[in-house]
C-alpha cells in the first residue's frame, strides 16, 4: 500500500489547499471502481444492488454521474454537508452497508471523494483531459521460477500529462499456476516454466505484462538431434520445446496412428481389412498414402460438417426445420466439393434469398440483428470474442463498445421480408437481402457507427456497395491478422485436442498462443495454398508431432499446450455412436435419413438419440455456437456397461458377433478379428490367451463368448479414447 501513497498525498494536499479542480471521470470513478463498488457482482450487476446501479467497468460515466448525483432523490451526496452523503457513509460503513467497508475513513480515497462532493459535484475539471492509454512496466520480461516483481501502471492523458495509477488499477493473472498478482500489482511467479500474462485494467483501458519463465533444466542440443522432422511443423514445435525444456515423446505405433488419424480425419474406426492391409504394408510411404486416402474419403465431408455445424447450425426450434435442413445440406455439399475455406465463408456471409430455398440465408434469419451477426462472425471466423463489448468494455482486452457496434455496422443495412421467427415451426419463408440504407447506433451515445473492421480503420463504403462484401474483402486480405489464424487454430485443436490459442475462439493479447511462430506459419501456408482445408490437414497429419505417443516422458507429463505428446481424447458423440455401430455391425436407424446413414449425417440435434445425448451432443435448446463438454462422465460409462440397446446390438442376428459365431474360425482367430475391428491391432499373446478363455467357461455359448469379449473392449479406455 505504501509505495504509491505519495501521489495521493500530494494530490490530497493540493485538494486541501482548494487549488485542485476535481473531475468525476478522472478522479471519482477510478476510486469507485478500485473500491469494488462497480464490480460485476455488486452495484454494476444487471439491475444494480439495492437500488444503486453503476455501469460495469465504468463504460457509461454520464449514467454513473446521474445515478450518484441525482439518484435516490439526491440523498447520495450533500455538497452542503459532505459527511452526511450516503456515498461516504455507506462506503466507509459508517452506516450499514451489505458490501462492508470499501473505503477507510480518513484515507486518501475518502478525502478525494469528500472534497469532490464539497466542490459541488463537478462533472468535469476546468481543463478536462481524457484518458488515452495506459502503460504497464515492465511490459515483458524473463524471470526465474518463484521470482517476484512489482508492476507500475501509468495513465496517459490527452494533454500528454501522466499519472501513476498503480494503486487504482485492477490486476488479474491469466494463469494462476504461472503467476499470481495481488491488489497492488505485485507479481509472484509460480513453479513452472512457460508464459503468463498479467492483465491490467484501468477505467476503459486494458494493458498487460507478459512474464516468461524459461525451462530451468534445458536439455542439451544432442537431445533434439535425432528427432525426426517431417515438415516445418516439427521444426517449429521442437524449437518451442527447446525453450521450455520439453522433449517430445516417442512415436506411437502404426495401429495407433491408423486409428487416431481415421478418427480425427474422417470420424471412423478403420475396418479390420483396412487395418490388416496397413499393418502388413511395409513400404516407406505408407503413412503418406494413408493420409491421402483419408482425405479423399467421401465420409470426410460428413465428419467435418458436424464440427462446422456445431458452429453455424441454428436451433431448429427457432428458425424452422427447413432452413436448417437446407443450410446443413449446403454445408455438406460444399465440403464434399472441398471448396476453399475463403469461398465457403464468403458465400455464407454474403447470402441473400429465401430461407426456404437457399441454406446460407438461415444464418441471417437466426442472427437477425446487426449486433448478433457481427459478434457471431467475429467469434466464429475471426476468433475474437467481441460479445462482452455489447454491454461494456471487454474486461481483459482492448475491445470496447465502439469496436462492437462498428463491426456490427457491416450488417446494418440488411433487409427482410416475410413472417420472421414464429417458434417452434417458423414454417413460412423469409427473404433476406442487402439494400442501401440502415445504420447501427451506439447504445449509450446514440451516435451513428460507420463500419470498421477489427483493428482497422473506418472504411468508406459507397452507397451502392454491400458492406458485407467490404468486410469479406478485409477478412480475405492475405495478411489479415485474424481470419486464417482463427481457422488453422480451430483445425489444429481438432487434431491435437488443444489449440495453439486455447480456447480456440478466444484470440486476444492477454491469451497468447503457445507457439506464435507456428501459428503464423500455419496461417501463411494455408493462405498461400488457396485456403484449402485438406492441404492444412495434410500438413498436420504428416507432421511427426501428430504421430507422437500419448505416454509421457520425464519432461512432458504436465504439459498440455506444446504438443510434446499426444493427448487422449474421448470420442465425440457422433463418432462414438458410429464406432459402436460399425464395431458391432449394426447400423443405426435415423428418422428421416436413409438406411445405413451414420450419426455424423444427422443434421439437427433434435433427432432422438439417448446415445448421442449421453455422449454430449449439444442440447437442442441451446443457441449455437455450441460448446461441447469433452469430459467422460459416469452416465456414459453406465450406458456402455448396461444399456439394453448396446446388448441388443451385440446379440443382433445380423451383427458382427452373430457373423463371427456362424463362421468356422476358431476362438483365437475370432479374437484377432475383434481386436482388429476395435483397436486396429492384433491382440498380444497374453490378450489372446485371456480373451480366448472366454470361450471355455461353463455354459457359455460361442456367440455369448464373442459378445462378452466385444462388450469388454467397448468398455475399455482403448476404445473410448482416441489415444
Amino acid at each position: 500500500m505504501r509505495r504509491n501513497l505519495s501521489i495521493y498525498l500530494l494530490f490530497a494536499l493540493s485538494v486541501a489547499g482548494g487549488a485542485a479542480d476535481l473531475s468525476f471521470r478522472n478522479d471519482v470513478l477510478p476510486i469507485l471502481a478500485r473500491a469494488g463498488c462497480a464490480a460485476g457482482s455488486c452495484h454494476a450487476k444487471a439491475g444494480g444492488q439495492n437500488g444503486f446501479q453503476l455501469s460495469i467497468f465504468a463504460y457509461d460515466p454520464a449514467s454513473d454521474y446521474r445515478e450518484i448525483v441525482h439518484g435516490a432523490r439526491g440523498r447520495r451526496v450533500f455538497p452542503a454537508a459532505p459527511d452526511e452523503s450516503l456515498l461516504l457513509l455507506k462506503a466507509t460503513q459508517s452506516m450499514d452497508h451489505e458490501g462492508g467497508r470499501r473505503i477507510e475513513p480518513g484515507s486518501d480515497f475518502h478525502r478525494v471523494l469528500r472534497e469532490w462532493i464539497a466542490q459541488g459535484l463537478p462533472w468535469a475539471a476546468t481543463n478536462e483531459v481524457s484518458l488515452t492509454r495506459i502503460e504497464v512496466s515492465p511490459g515483458t520480461g524473463r524471470y526465474g521460477r518463484g521470482a517476484e516483481l512489482e508492476l507500475k501502471v501509468t495513465a496517459h492523458y490527452s494533454d500528454d500529462s501522466t499519472r501513476d495509477v498503480t494503486r487504482l488499477a485492477e490486476y488479474r493473472s491469466n494463469d494462476e499456476a504461472m503467476a499470481i498478482v495481488d491488489h497492488d500489482g505485485r507479481v509472484t511467479l509460480g513453479g513452472q516454466s512457460g508464459e503468463g500474462v498479467i492483465i491490467v485494467r484501468y477505467m476503459d483501458q486494458v494493458g498487460n505484462a507478459r512474464v516468461t519463465v524459461p525451462g530451468e533444466r534445458r536439455l542439451p542440443d544432442s537431445a533434439y538431434a535425432g528427432l525426426p522432422i517431417r515438415n516445418e511443423i516439427d521444426k517449429l514445435v521442437y524449437a518451442r520445446h527447446r525453450e521450455l525444456g520439453l522433449l517430445a515423446s516417442g512415436e506411437c505405433s502404426d495401429s495407433e496412428f491408423l486409428r487416431r488419424a481415421s478418427l480425427d480425419a474422417v470420424g471412423k474406426l478403420p475396418t479390420p481389412e483396412v487395418a490388416r492391409d496397413y499393418l502388413l504394408d511395409f513400404s516407406a510411404d505408407k503413412r503418406a498414402k494413408l493420409i491421402d486416402e483419408l482425405l479423399a474419403d467421401p465420409d470426410w465431408a460428413d465428419h467435418w460438417a458436424v464440427k462446422f455445424g456445431d458452429l453455424i447450425r441454428p436451433n431448429t426450434q427457432r428458425v424452422g426445420v427447413k432452413p436448417v435442413y437446407l443450410l446443413d445440406g449446403w454445408l455438406r455439399r460444399r465440403l464434399r466439393e472441398n471448396v476453399p475455406y475463403d469461398a465457403l465463408v464468403k458465400e455464407l456471409l454474403t447470402a441473400s434469398g429465401s430461407t426456404h430455398q437457399y441454406g446460407p440465408v438461415a444464418f441471417f434469419r437466426d442472427k437477425r440483428e446487426p449486433a448478433t451477426a457481427g459478434a457471431f462472425v467475429s467469434r466464429i471466423f475471426l476468433g475474437v470474442r467481441l460479445d462482452c463489448a455489447q454491454c461494456h468494455h471487454h474486461p481483459s482486452e482492448k475491445w470496447g463498445q465502439d469496436d462492437y457496434y462498428r463491426f456490427a455496422a457491416f450488417f446494418g443495412s440488411m433487409k427482410r421480408k416475410g413472417q420472421g421467427i414464429s417458434a417452434p415451426i417458423s414454417g413460412e419463408p423469409e427473404y433476406w437481402w442487402w439494400e442501401p440504407g440502415g445504420t447501427v447506433r451506439h447504445p449509450v451515445t446514440d451516435e451513428v457507427m460507420p463500419p470498421r473492421p477489427l483493428d482497422g480503420v473506418a472504411v468508406e463504403i459507397p452507397t451502392e456497395k454491400d458492406p458485407r462484401s467490404v468486410l469479406i474483402d478485409w477478412m480475405l486480405t492475405p495478411d489479415n491478422p485474424f481470419f486464417a489464424k482463427a481457422i488453422v487454430n480451430r483445425v489444429w485443436g481438432e487434431f491435437f485436442g488443444v489449440g495453439i490459442v486455447e480456447p480456440v475462439d478466444d484470440f486476444r493479447e492477454s491469451n497468447p498462443p503457445s507457439n506464435d511462430t507456428l501459428l503464423d506459419w500455419l496461417a501463411r501456408d494455408f493462405v498461400e495454398n488457396g485456403y484449402d482445408l485438406k492441404h492444412l490437414m495434410r500438413r498436420i497429419l504428416r507432421s511427426n508431432v501428430y504421430g507422437l505417443s500419448s505416454m509421457p516422458n520425464e519432461t512432458n507429463a504436465a504439459d498440455r499446450r506444446n504438443n510434446a505428446r499426444s493427448l487422449r481424447r474421448r470420442l465425440p458423440a457422433e463418432v462414438m455412436a458410429d464406432a459402436v455401430a460399425s464395431f458391432t455391425g449394426t447400423p443405426e436407424k435415423w428418422d428421416g435419413l436413409p438406411p445405413g446413414a451414420r450419426a455424423v449425417q444427422t443434421w439437427n440435434t433434435r433427432m432422438s438419440s439417448t446415445f448421442l445425448d449421453t455422449f454430449g451432443r449439444p442440447d437442442f435448446s441451446a443457441e449455437c455456437p455450441c460448446e461441447r463438454d469433452p469430459a467422460p462422465t459416469i452416465v456414459q460409462s453406465l450406458h456402455l456397461m448396461n444399456s439394453d440397446e448396446l446388448q441388443s446390438r451385440l446379440s443382433a442376428a445380423d451383427g458382427r458377433a452373430a457373423a463371427l459365431a456362424a463362421g468356422d474360425a476358431g476362438p483365437e482367430e475370432i479374437v484377432r478379428q475383434i481386436y482388429l475391428a476395435a483397436y486396429a491391432r492384433p491382440p498380444t499373446v497374453d490378450e489372446l490367451r485371456v480373451a480366448s478363455g472366454a470361450f471355455s467357461g461353463d455354459g457359455v455359448s460361442r456367440q455369448g463368448a464373442i459378445e462378452d469379449i466385444m462388450w469388454a473392449l467397448i468398455n475399455s479406455a482403448e476404445f473410448v479414447f482416441n489415444h
Binding site: A46, G47, P395, A423, P552, A558, H639, N642, S643, N715
Partner: protein, 441 residues
C-alpha cells in the same frame, strides 16, 4: 496400473459393496438410510428435490385458487372442496390434496411477465427470464436449470445420476454452460408398464449374474491402455476407471437396485399413487430420492387448456394430479422423509380469468399457484392471494426469482452465488432473489 489392484483378488459382491460404500466420501446409501431414520437434515445439504413440472401452465382457478365468488364467465364450472384447514378451499377435483393439505403450502401469489411457453418455461425452470424475447414455441436455454445447478453443486456420488428427468427433459431443463456432466439423465418409458426398467443402472435382464461377472473380469483383464499415473498429466483414462468402480458399486448395491425396481413396491402403495404413468413416476421419484438422487424432475404435460378446459381437466388431468401428489405427500410423511425431501409442483404460468369462446383459458402470467411441501415447509399454509376475481396476485406478491431463491436455499445452495461461464463472465445464480419467507418459518 494401480487400477488392477484388488481386481482379481476374489472380492465378492457383498465385500465389494461394503468396501465401496465405506471408502466413499460424502453421503452414502447407508447414510441415507440412517438419515431416513433420523428424519432431518439441518443445512439443506442433504435435502433432495422432487420437481413436478406441469407443462403448459395449469389454471389457478381450477386447482388451488378457486374463485367461487367471481362472476359467471370467470368463475368456471367447478365447485370447491374444503381442505384440512378451515376456510381454505381447493377445486372440487382436488379432494385428496385437500385432505393432505397439512403436508404442504400453496403460494397463490407468484406473478411474472413472461406470458408464453418458451419464455415462461425458461423463467420457472431456471429462475431467470430469457435475456432476449423468445416466442411461444421456443425451446431455449440461456442459464442452467435448477436440476443442473443442483447436480453441479452437490457433485456426483455412488455412481448415481445426480439429476434425473422423467420421461423427458423440459424445454429449458438443460445444463447450459455447466456442461454435459450436469445434463439430465432422462428416464423415458412408462413405469406403470410391464417390464419397465430404469435404463442403464442395472445389468441387462438377458445377462445372467454369472455372465456379468465374466464380463467384468474380462474387462478388467483386457483394458490395457497404460494409465498415466502422474496426476499432472490429467489422464482421462484414470477418471474412466473411477467411473467403472462407481458403476459397479451401483450395479451391485442392493439398496440402489431395489430403489430402481418399482415392482418391489407393495401393490397397495402403487395403487395409492394411481396406476398410471404420472403416479408411478412420482413413486419412482420418491424411490430415487431415497437412495440419494438429489434432484428428480417429473414432467407432466398437457396443461395448456385453450379449449374445453373443464372437460379435459376433470376427466384425467386433475384426478391423476390429485391422486399422485396427495399420495406422494402422505407417503413421504409416513416414511419420515418429508423433512429432507422438497416437493414443488408448478407450471410456467396461470390462466386467464375470462373463459374464452372455446371454453378454454389462455396464458396468464400475472397470477399462478405453486404447491410446495417438505424440507421444513409448513403444512396447511396459504401464502399470498389474488384479487377476488383472480386477475392479479395482490398480497405478498413473489416473483420467479423468489421461488428460485427459496428452492436453492432449501437445498443448501446459496442463491446469490456467482457462477462463471467458460468465457469467465460472472453470472449470479439468481438475480435479486428473496426467499419466500413463509416457507422458512
Amino acid at each position: 496400473m494401480n487400477k488392477l489392484k484388488n481386481k482379481c483378488s476374489g472380492i465378492d459382491r457383498r465385500d465389494f459393496l461394503q468396501v465401496g460404500l465405506g471408502a466413499l466420501g460424502g453421503l452414502t446409501l447407508t447414510d441415507v438410510l440412517r438419515l431416513r431414520a433420523a428424519g432431518k437434515a439441518s443445512d439443506g445439504k442433504d435435502v433432495r428435490c422432487i420437481f413436478v413440472w406441469l407443462d403448459g401452465g395449469p389454471s389457478h382457478y381450477e386447482t388451488f385458487d378457486p374463485k367461487p365468488e367471481a362472476p359467471d364467465g370467470i368463475r368456471g364450472e367447478f365447485g370447491t372442496v374444503k381442505t384440512a384447514v378451515p376456510g381454505v378451499r381447493f377445486s372440487e377435483h382436488l379432494p385428496n390434496l385437500a385432505k393432505a393439505f397439512d403436508t404442504f403450502t400453496v403460494v397463490r401469489s407468484i406473478a411474472h411477465d413472461q406470458n408464453n411457453h418458451g419464455a415462461g418455461n425458461h423463467y420457472l425452470t431456471t429462475g431467470r427470464p430469457t435475456p432476449t424475447p423468445v416466442g411461444c414455441g421456443a425451446f431455449v436455454t440461456f442459464h442452467p436449470s435448477f436440476g443442473s445447478v443442483v447436480s453441479h453443486e452437490r457433485g456426483l456420488r455412488d455412481g448415481l445420476p445426480s439429476y434425473v428427468s422423467m420421461p423427458q427433459m423440459s424445454r429449458s431443463g438443460g445444463a447450459n454452460f455447466l456442461g454435459a456432466t450436469h445434463a439430465p439423465f432422462v428416464i423415458s418409458g412408462n413405469p406403470d408398464g410391464k417390464g419397465f426398467r430404469v435404463r442403464d443402472v442395472s445389468i441387462p435382464k438377458s445377462i445372467s449374474e454369472g455372465r456379468a461377472e465374466n464380463r467384468r473380469a474380462l474387462r478388467e483383464n483386457l483394458d490395457r491402455l497404460q494409465r498415466i499415473n502422474d496426476r499432472a498429466a490429467n489422464d482421462p483414462a484414470v477418471s474412466l476407471d473411477e467411473f467403472y468402480e462407481q458403476g459397479y458399486r451401483l450395479v451391485y448395491s442392493k439398496e440402489a437396485q431395489a430403489a430402481f425396481d418399482i415392482a418391489m413396491e407393495p401393490e397397495k402403495t402403487r395403487e395409492s399413487y394411481g396406476r398410471n404413468d404420472f403416479g408411478q413416476r412420482l413413486l419412482l421419484a420418491r424411490r430415487l430420492t431415497e437412495v440419494g438422487v438429489p434432484f428428480v424432475s417429473v414432467y407432466y404435460g398437457g396443461w395448456d387448456h385453450h379449449t374445453k378446459i373443464f372437460e379435459t381437466m376433470k376427466k384425467t388431468a386433475l384426478p391423476k394430479l390429485d391422486q399422485g401428489m396427495a399420495a406422494l405427500m402422505t407417503d413421504l410423511k409416513q416414511r419420515g422423509t418429508l423433512d429432507n425431501t422438497l416437493v414443488v409442483c408448478l407450471g410456467e404460468f396461470g390462466r386467464t380469468p375470462k373463459v374464452n369462446k372455446d371454453t378454454g383459458r389462455d396464458h396468464w402470467s400475472f397470477a399462478m399457484s405453486v404447491m410446495a411441501g417438505g424440507a421444513g415447509i409448513p403444512g396447511g399454509q396459504i401464502v399470498g392471494a389474488t384479487d377476488v376475481k383472480g386477475y392479479y396476485a395482490n398480497e405478498n406478491v413473489y416473483r420467479p426469482e423468489d421461488f428460485a431463491a427459496s428452492l436453492y436455499t432449501k437445498l443448501g445452495i446459496d442463491h446469490a452465488k456467482l457462477l462463471h461461464t467458460p468465457v469467465g463472465r460472472p453470472v449470479q445464480l439468481v438475480d435479486k432473489g428473496r426467499r419466500i419467507k413463509e416457507l422458512f418459518v
